[in-house]
Symmetry: C2
Subunit: 305 residues, 2 copies
């Protein structure tokens, strides 16, 4: 088998990593995707962290070297034994054997912290919602699914802020795509999205968007070699469809994988759909598929940096 | 290993099949390409054909069913034993074992004759030089390399003409690309090329050429869903380079395979280069690489018909 194509999804706690990747895994097929969370490489369990007054965001609280070693195994298509951190009670469970498959999604807090980590990814995404939105998401999730009170979550966020600033947010600079979902209204199906697309990957031709007027809901600009793209959550579905169409056009060799299921997410048990989420996921698929094509043709992938 | 990607190159005797494929094989790498000539499937040797008054162009003179069976093995990535017809003395040599590799080039006279043959190819090219040019090429080749006199070759061409008309030329209709090199001068490095690009394959975006003026050396037109493309052999090298650039742009996932060696051919032992040959070969590479990408992604290839 050719080596797996590896997507990194990094961002602070509750930045939306799982929502983004769950939809991609669904599209690529569960059995084709190895899903790894780098937070499993914590050095200390919850009790030990409390004793040591260290947050899980600090590199010293994680086996950073083993994380890189295991990502190297993944990239080489070799199996490895992964530790398991249990968010439910903050302890470690039994190791699991990971067998690389066609694709891997590696998500977590510190995935781009060092060059020996970064070099393993074919595509690097960083999720950077506004802090206010992230705090809201973290409260929602940790209270409903991890058994905390709102005050506990907010206190924890404050305690973590220095490490977020020192270790998490600087990783944004190592991403090929920085993605910020923005609240345009209270309606989670219609979040705006703002993206920075860096030249370390060859993005599909988006120049038609450059001509889109101010009222189109799309803003396209350049900052040196970076592309800044804003897409309104209230975008006309026809315009959204045309954008998606032009990206699939560049992916015609993968047309058998075309799907209408991008952008789906759940709130509680209800299935929702977000156009901006669909667009981000489609851009990621574009890069995963072209990287896979490159590797199949004997190349090293599609990274230019 | 994924199944091989199969290019068909069909055309009458001395239509330029070997010149076209030799350059592609050089670029793809000898060890990556299985080269099969369907003329090896002749039912009768030269003496038997003379006795029976049958030309090698007639389907009855070939094991058409075995040809299709072996192409099916090739497509499935299975080895097979191929007969060998020896042009030097018109007899059969010992069988050879063929092991499919990443790519296959299947050239010959009758490769698109039946649907059970046609269905095996990822890309189907038909070479259709003007008859006058083909006769000249056949005389040059058969006299210099196969030991005939000019009169013998011309007599043979006349004898074969009814079968060429009945069995060879109609195969043009089954090709994805019909390629005609045309003599603009006596200079073989600067042949014009005329192509019909059919919608059974998704060709790279050539619409920029639609706007090229009459004096550019490029003529682009549409006939229903077909594209007709004429490129002058005297094309400005800068324009030729821009055309090639735009096709490579669509192949960025194969950029590690980019090469300057397209268009090379030999006259005697001298190496020459033709821009029009390079362009045709690049279009073929485009289709081979996108088909390979599709198969690597679990697809069936890039044919739409």
């Amino acid at each position: 088998m050719a080596r797996p194509i590896i997507l990194g999804v990094v961002g602070d706690s509750a930045a939306g990593k799982t929502t983004l990747t769950r939809g991609l895994v669904r599209v690529l097929g569960d059995h084709n995707v190895t899903h790894v969370c780098t937070d499993d490489y914590h050095r200390y369990d919850r009790r030990q962290r409390a004793e040591r007054q260290i947050t899980p965001l600090h590199p010293d609280c994680n086996y950073m070297d083993i994380m890189a070693q295991h990502l190297g195994h993944m990239r080489a298509g070799e199996a490895f034994l992964k530790p398991v951190y249990q968010h439910t009670d903050g302890t470690f469970g039994p190791l699991v054997r990971i067998e690389p498959t066609e694709y891997a999604v590696v998500e977590g807090l510190l995935g781009y912290y060092s060059e020996s980590l970064r070099q393993n990814y074919d595509v690097r995404v960083y999720l950077a919602p506004p802090e206010e939105l992230r705090r809201k998401w973290k409260v929602q999730r940790d209270c409903s699914r991890r058994g905390y009170t709102t005050d506990q979550v907010l206190a924890e966020l404050d305690k973590r802020e220095p490490d977020s600033e020192a270790f998490i947010r600087p990783q944004k600079d190592s991403a090929d795509m920085v993605v910020s979902f923005l609240p345009s209204s209270d309606d989670q199906e219609h979040l705006d999205v703002e993206m920075i697309l860096r030249p370390s990957l060859r993005h599909p031709d988006l120049t038609p968007l450059e001509q889109a007027g101010e009222n189109s809901g799309i803003r396209f600009s350049r900052d040196g070699d970076d592309i800044h793209l804003f897409v309104s959550g209230q975008l006309d579905p026809q315009v959204a469809h045309a954008m998606e169409e032009s990206i699939w056009e560049n992916l015609h060799f993968a047309s058998h994988l075309r799907t209408e299921r991008l952008g789906e997410f759940t709130i509680g048990t209800d299935l929702h759909r977000s156009e901006s989420l669909a667009l981000v996921q489609l851009l990621l698929l574009y890069h995963l598929f072209t990287a896979k094509a490159s590797v199949a043709l004997g190349g090293a992938g599609t990274r230019s940096a």
